[in-house]
């Protein structure tokens, strides 16, 4: 009986136990990252992509492993749908993206059918979380939340600066996002209690070559405040045409939209970009995870400033964080189990402003808050709320002439 030693027995027990250990070790999470890296939303898509590229390294430092499968849907909703199919067939366990609401709705139909979790990084159209999708969560405010927070911050801006504008015109792109924002403005502006009369709402095509007619129309109304929902390319056109037509409103404020804080906007307009205000969620630069992301982002993207990119990069990183964290907790890549873990997310430590990342029954994170970000010396600068502000807001804004 001396054939079996204690060491051999231990080794045999380890071998027998191994399959269970292997089963408990989750495979790397493959995330299909769908972004508009070409087409008319390319600037924002590329910006989101830069945040995603550094995410695996940052997440690894926090003990989470992901592998990204990159897909460009060319700013085309139909392409988003077919690319979602393709990336799932290529082995993606989860989808993250797509920056644009129309594409999000198209992708959701696919992920719902294939029972694959879909974490929306950016996309504000309310219907994304209103259609009962079971495999979708959104870590981004709805258009309604954005506008509610944005309008509340306008009130705070007026109080902080003592400015007393009387009239405003709302100008918006007529894409899915812009139209959703228009709906939210129509519903929420009368109830916001702002002492500013809304004279008109003007929709424009964001792909238009110039916005001179739009600006003539605005000039005819001569509002004190221009409320805008733009993308960066059309925001540039809007500003240029305002300068050419010598129209200077007292304030240009976005109640929650991209465009006026993008690097492209600063490069194209230089000092004319200054003093525009955007009210939207922003990176919390005091959070350790934001610092970790910035530390990884800056050397990887020397041509881009994190301060100007933190919105797109931050929300895309957070969407990947949600997926990676759920995978870590679920210990599997099975779609159904992974989705249960996604819905149970409760991440106190993250990048953007607001409370913990958690999702309500509809898959919406209700804890995101906005900040008032004013362009100062070509840098988006938090001016409200006071607790996060690094500068005081300036209203009314100086005229176009003489800016340096």
């Amino acid at each position: 009986m001396g054939g079996i030693s204690r060491r051999g027995l231990a080794a045999g027990a380890a071998v027998l136990a191994m399959p269970a250990i292997v089963r408990a070790q989750p495979a790397v999470l493959k995330v299909g990252l769908l972004l508009p890296r070409s087409g008319y939303l390319a600037q924002a898509g590329q910006s989101c992509h830069r945040g995603a590229l550094v995410a695996p390294r940052v997440l690894a430092d926090f003990g989470m492993r992901i592998e990204i499968i990159d897909v460009d849907f060319e700013s085309n909703v139909d392409m988003a749908r077919t690319q979602a199919e393709r990336v799932i067939n290529a082995g993606a366990h989860c989808i993250v993206g797509p920056f644009e609401s129309g594409a999000a709705l198209a992708i959701a139909q696919v992920t719902e059918q294939r029972k694959i979790p879909f974490v929306v990084n950016i996309g504000a159209a309310p219907q994304i979380t209103e259609q009962g999708y079971q495999y979708l969560v959104r870590n981004f405010p709805t258009g309604g939340q954005l506008v509610t927070n944005g309008l509340a911050l306008i009130k705070d801006l007026l109080a902080a600066t003592g400015a007393q504008p009387k009239t405003a015109v709302f100008v918006h792109a007529n894409d899915t996002f812009g139209t959703a924002q228009r709906g939210a403005m129509d519903a929420l502006y009368p109830r916001a209690g702002l002492p500013i009369e809304l004279l008109d709402r003007i929709a424009y095509d964001p792909k238009a070559q110039d916005l001179s007619v739009e600006v003539t129309k605005i000039r005819a109304l001569n509002p004190d405040v221009l409320l805008v929902v733009t993308r960066s390319a059309d925001a540039i056109k809007l500003f240029r045409d305002m300068v050419r037509q010598r129209f200077t409103p007292k304030a240009i404020i976005s109640p929650g939209s991209p465009g006026m804080y993008d690097e492209e906007f600063y490069q194209a307009l230089g000092p004319l970009a200054d003093f525009a205000i955007t009210n939207l969620p922003w990176a919390n630069f005091n959070a350790p995870m934001t610092k970790a992301l910035e530390a990884a982002y800056t050397p990887a993207n020397p041509r881009y400033r994190f301060a100007a990119e933190c919105f797109n990069a931050g929300f895309t990183f957070e969407a990947l964080l949600v997926a990676a964290d759920a995978h870590k907790r679920a210990g599997t890549t099975d779609g159904e189990t992974l989705m249960r873990a996604v819905k149970a997310t409760n991440l106190a430590e993250h990048v953007m402003t607001g409370g913990p990342i958690a999702f309500d029954a509809k898959g919406q994170n209700p804890n995101i808050v906005s900040a008032s970000v004013q362009n100062r010396n070509r840098t988006p600068t938090v001016v409200l709320p006071a607790s996060a502000a690094t500068a005081a807001p300036v209203l009314p804004m100086p005229g176009w002439q003489g800016r340096t």
Partner: protein, 290 residues
């Protein structure tokens, strides 16, 4: 009174924009009018010219209006070579074959631009880009005014070339009666190549000047092609004056629609105008009945 002044301003803006549209569409019209090949890579070549103007400005501080001339010459050479090397065998072949060829050229060109310059819009920041003149109640954008004036001169030069030079007359002879032109000994292949070159030169000049108004971006290409088609169909395929007229009509129509209704409905009115022309005068406003 104020409304009338604003309307006048809008119409003037529309005319100026329309003249640039017209020069751009002129290239499409020239090529179709003579070779009977529709250049589906029209918008991509315009964007290529925009990037060339951007490069000329960033590298050598060359004003895009001045750069338009060498860029037009470069586009002429590309067009000449393209016709000789690639398009020529497809002349006279089925239209779908021509379409696939030029759509392929468009795709290659667009993706090369994306690879070379990325998707970000490239602005040309000129000292006068944001200047304007106030003439009474009308505010005229300086860059647009210069571009419109140059577009008008260039269109006149192209029309003059086809009407008053021996080469232009020979090209028109090819367009009117290809067999007859060949019988009298005209070098049709060379004349076709010259025509394609002239067509692309127009697109190149228009594209180069357009960067003073709009940033260079690959996204613009499809829109330019579609707009070019609308303009030449309204003006009359193959009619040079028609391209200019179509451009101005579209410019004014879009401007008025944007001002009087919603700016987001500008394109709708362009298409309505197109439908009306197709229904009432299918050959276009200045086109000849086939």
């Amino acid at each position: 009174m104020i409304m009338a002044e604003l309307l006048l301003g809008v119409v003037v803006q529309g005319v100026m924009t329309g003249l640039v549209y017209g020069l751009m569409a002129l290239g499409l019209s020239v090529i179709f009018g003579v070779i009977r090949v529709v250049n589906f890579a029209h918008g991509e070549f315009a964007v290529l010219a925009m990037y060339a103007a951007w490069l000329a400005h960033t590298q050598w501080q060359l004003d895009p209006i001045l750069a338009a001339l060498p860029i037009a010459a470069g586009c002429f050479a590309i067009g000449y070579g393209l016709q000789r090397g690639l398009v020529s065998p497809f002349v006279g072949r089925a239209e779908h074959e021509q379409f696939i060829l030029l759509a392929g050229v468009a795709m290659v060109l667009l993706n090369l631009l994306l690879m070379g310059f990325g998707p970000d819009a490239r602005p040309v920041n000129l000292p006068y880009a944001l200047d304007s003149y106030a003439i009474g109640p009308v505010i005229l954008d300086k860059a647009r005014l210069i571009v419109a004036a140059v577009a008008l001169v260039m269109t006149g030069a192209v029309i003059g070339f086809f009407r008053f030079t021996r080469t232009g007359t020979a090209i028109r002879a090819c367009a009117d009666n290809l067999l007859g032109a060949a019988v009298v000994g005209l070098d049709v292949k060379r004349l076709y190549a010259l025509t394609f070159g002239i067509g692309l030169a127009c697109v190149g000049a228009a594209g180069a000047m357009l960067v003073t108004i709009s940033d260079a971006s690959p996204v613009l290409a499809h829109g330019f092609t579609l707009q070019g088609f609308i303009i030449v169909i309204i003006g009359g395929l193959g009619s040079l004056g028609g391209a200019l007229l179509g451009g101005v009509l579209i410019g004014v129509c879009e401007a008025l629609a944007g001002f009087l209704w919603q700016p987001s409905m500008k394109s709708l009115f362009s298409f309505l105008l197109l439908v009306a022309v197709l229904a009432l005068r299918p050959q276009g406003l200045l086109g000849k009945r086939a």
